[in-house]
């Protein structure tokens, strides 16, 4: 009997916590799809409206911001995949002079992340003439220590025999990378890409510092400017704008929930 009570208490607790955790997001949906009269007035039969989305989209170029974010994320990931793959290949399969020190230097970036070096990196971008460009936002993230580390761990687990076999068949070093290492690391690549997408879709501080115009600004920065309290925009419209900003990632997450969750687990354990 006692066991039953604790079991039901546990279920009750898990559900209550789940409801509390979901409330803020559900509430944003409520506010976005109703007129401002119903923002704090809950009525199940309140008429639904898309008006807030129309107003939000007419007051700020959210579709342009979304395009900027997509371009930014694609540029960063392409850069990361190339640079981290080559770096990881070097650390996993080649013995070169100073390798241990070099690897330690790579890992330093896990501590000293680009975000905290905004001042100096901003000056560097000024010197390179890359302020207010999408490439400028993406560049500091391309040599990702996390990516190099993750791929190196994975490459090291691939049996050396496969490498040797390909070599005997006359495969060059780049061909071995392309035909052996990369195909056998697909799950790690998928995991890394999903983690990277969610990081850079949501990144804010550095893009805020670098971007200065509508054609460069990503969604997070656009949303922050739009929703600033002094802009006096109505709550229901801010909710609509917030939902526009998170929609692509949220929808992707809901569809590929399992892959997302597995990816985060996968990248964490190693």
């Amino acid at each position: 009997m006692k066991i039953h009570i604790t079991k039901y208490l546990k279920i009750l607790f898990a559900w209550s916590l789940a409801i509390i955790w979901a409330l803020p997001i559900l509430y944003a949906f409520w506010a976005a799809f109703h007129t401002s009269d119903f923002v704090t007035h809950f009525n199940l039969f309140a008429p639904l409206t898309l008006e807030n989305f129309k107003i939000a989209a007419s007051q700020a170029p959210f579709l342009r911001y979304m395009l900027n974010t997509i371009i930014l994320v694609v540029i960063i990931i392409i850069g990361q995949l190339i640079i981290c793959t080559l770096g990881a290949y070097a650390f996993a399969r080649f013995d070169f002079y100073g390798k241990k020190v070099a690897f330690f230097l790579v890992l330093l970036q896990l501590m000293i992340v680009p975000e905290i070096l905004i001042i100096q990196n901003y000056k560097t971008l000024v010197n390179l003439g890359l302020t207010d460009t999408i490439l400028g936002i993406g560049l500091p993230y391309m040599a990702s220590a996390f990516g190099i580390f993750l791929l190196r761990q994975n490459f090291k687990m691939i049996p050396k025999e496969l490498d040797d076999a390909a070599r005997i068949e006359g495969c060059s070093l780049m061909c071995i990378l392309w035909k052996v290492y990369i195909p056998l690391s697909k799950p790690t690549y998928l995991a890394y890409i999903l983690v990277s997408i969610s990081y850079h879709w949501n990144n804010f501080l550095w893009p805020l510092v670098v971007s200065n115009s509508q054609d460069v600004r990503p969604l997070t920065v656009g949303l922050a400017i739009f929703g600033a309290p002094e802009s006096g925009v109505q709550w229901s419209i801010i909710s609509a704008a917030t939902l526009i900003s998170v929609a692509p990632l949220l929808v992707a997450f809901l569809i590929f929930q399992k892959q997302f969750v597995n990816s985060f687990m996968h990248t964490g354990i190693k």
Binding site: L17, W21, L110, E115, I119, T220
Partner: protein
């Protein structure tokens, strides 16, 4: 010997693109930040010149810096343990057999994929004094509402609650992974020996997931020191710097006051904190934690 040389060359060539970018955006700025913290600002009439530790002398007497340092410590050491404890509870709940488990897990995890800016937008409305939901509930029960973000006593705690909501689900994932990979025989053995669920958790499960706890803790702390996105939406560091955090102060000093030398000095403090924390972690990991 020849093979060795070729490996040498290929190794460095392959790693070169990464090191060029790391050099430009990590090593150079780190060194330059240290150097700039020893110089004055460049003005129109005067080029920058060496000032020794003057910026640091200013730093330790700067009340705003001391406030942000204190706030950052409270923010990090407050949110991280609570988030971790909560995430472990979440993981245990979702790991056990409960109805609608998938939905519960989804609910816990969803906040983590939102941008901090979006989460802050949503919570701004909860906290707002007149129309905010929290005050509506409080007033419904006959109490007076509080201006959560406008009061220097409640503002930091309010930000911490939101951060815990946002982060706990993320850490839960790592605990879930750890729980799923626990050797079942050990838990069964504990059961056969007559251990209660409480005992088998503290004696078997908890020690086995200690590496995960350390992994989460260091990541969470490193993250907490640079988590400032929500300040741009919710408080701008106010009222009267009561919610100002170190990285946000760096941003203000650099891009609102254009005092790059002092901002560099502040950055040195932040870098030092992150490095000390990481070194501490690696020493503990090496010595104490049983790693597979």
């Amino acid at each position: 010997m020849r093979v060795y040389n070729i490996n040498n060359l290929y190794g460095w060539l392959l790693a070169l693109p990464a090191f060029v970018l790391l050099g430009v955006f990590t090593y150079y700025p780190t060194v330059a930040t240290f150097i700039n913290s020893l110089y004055s600002n460049e003005t129109i009439i005067r080029p920058k010149h060496f000032v020794g530790l003057d910026n640091y002398r200013f730093l330790i007497n700067d009340p705003i810096f001391l406030t942000t340092l204190k706030n950052t410590a409270i923010f990090a050491f407050g949110t991280v343990p609570i988030s971790i404890a909560l995430s472990l509870i979440m993981a245990l709940l979702v790991h056990s057999k409960i109805p609608a488990r998938g939905l519960v897990r989804l609910s816990y995890f969803t906040p983590t994929i939102l941008p901090m800016v979006a989460a802050a937008n949503i919570w701004l409305f909860f906290y707002s004094p007149q129309i905010g939901l929290i005050n509506k509930v409080i007033e419904y029960f006959g109490f007076n509402g509080i201006n959560w973000l406008g009061n220097s006593h409640t503002v930091l705690a309010s930000l911490m609650v939101m951060t815990i909501w946002k982060e706990a689900g993320f850490f839960m994932i790592f605990y879930l992974a750890a729980l799923q990979s626990l050797p079942k025989e050990l838990l069964e053995a504990a059961k056969i020996e007559g251990a209660t669920k409480w005992q088998s958790f503290w004696k078997v499960t908890f020690p086995l997931i200690t590496p995960t706890t350390f992994f989460i803790m260091i990541n969470a702390l490193l993250n907490a020191f640079k988590l400032v996105d929500h300040l741009f939406i919710l408080t701008k560091g106010g009222p009267d710097n009561a919610s100002n955090l170190l990285l946000y102060y760096i941003y203000e000093v650099a891009f609102s006051f254009f005092d790059f030398a002092y901002a560099s000095t502040l950055t040195v403090v932040l870098i030092s904190m992150l490095v000390v924390l990481s070194l501490l972690y690696f020493t503990i990991i090496e010595k104490k934690v049983h790693y597979k």
